[in-house]
Amino acid sequence: MFRSLNYLNGGLFDDFRRLEREMEQLFGAGPWPSGIRSVARGTYPPINIGSTPEQVDVYLFAAGLNTESLDISIQKNLLTIDGQRRLITEEGASYFRRERFDDAFHRVVTLPDDVDPEKVEASYVDGVLRITIQRRETTKPRQIEIK
């Protein structure tokens, strides 16, 4: 389903994983590895981008977002997403872990050159913001008929 996006091979990424693993072995963080920490350590929110000949889809993994705080803009092929996620602190409770992102964020994505900035749609489902940008007609592959 999402495999093609999720298992992209990246040498740098694998190096990070190896480093993370070595760090954990060194500091003894338990018998099981902590898994991919891209969410906890990377820039917030994590982004996946996929393309087809018709469109480019940008997915932002940002749970619990107030969509009114979002400011999405596109200039030529540069997509900018500004937003914030502010968490409510429970008064009188004692916190053991506070790992969830609580701040403003800003991400800029460079899209392929042939996107049409006039044709952009955004939706927010289950904590994933999806921005779909159509590509220009002229760059879509065309079937050429042989006479």
Binding site: L5, N9, G35, I36, V39, T43, S51, G64, A93, F96
Partner: protein, 131 residues
């Protein structure tokens, strides 16, 4: 499945359980306690109610979920921060928490789990007698 197998192959020295854990995302959580119980908030974007699994068994709380994201056919990846479709995390609970009365809700990819304390464990003010 080819890509998947390649990742596993690189970890030939690890056990199957380790491999599985490594291929899943350890999602960020907030955990806080008040007088009546403990609340766990977990960010699991892309997970719907149907694909979320929360279990409390033998004092172990286990949270799992898989993402389901609408994608057009034939999509190719240009860039990916998120490389797994699975979230997983588990926590050991202490005995004063009543797992049987836990309550979970999911909104916009945020899981809110409330585990109340057993009645007899709720903090009591202890009178200090004098004399």
């Amino acid at each position: 499945m080819n890509e998947n197998r390649d990742v596993v192959k690189q970890r030939a020295g690890t056990s199957p359980k380790e491999r599985e854990a490594e291929l899943s995302i350890r999602m960020p959580v907030d955990i806080f306690e008040d007088e009546t119980g403990i609340t766990v908030l977990a960010d699991m974007p892309g997970v719907s109610k149907e694909r979320l699994d929360v279990q409390i068994d033998n004092n172990t709380l286990s949270i799992q979920g898989t993402t389901e994201i609408a994608m057009p056919d034939g999509m190719e990846a240009l860039y990916a921060d998120v490389r797994s479709t699975r979230y997983q995390r588990s926590f050991a609970l202490s005995s004063e928490l009543d797992g049987g009365k836990a309550d979970a809700s999911l909104k916009d990819g945020v899981l809110a789990l409330r585990i109340p304390k057993r009645e007899e464990h709720k903090a009591r003010k202890i009178e200090v007698r004098t004399g």
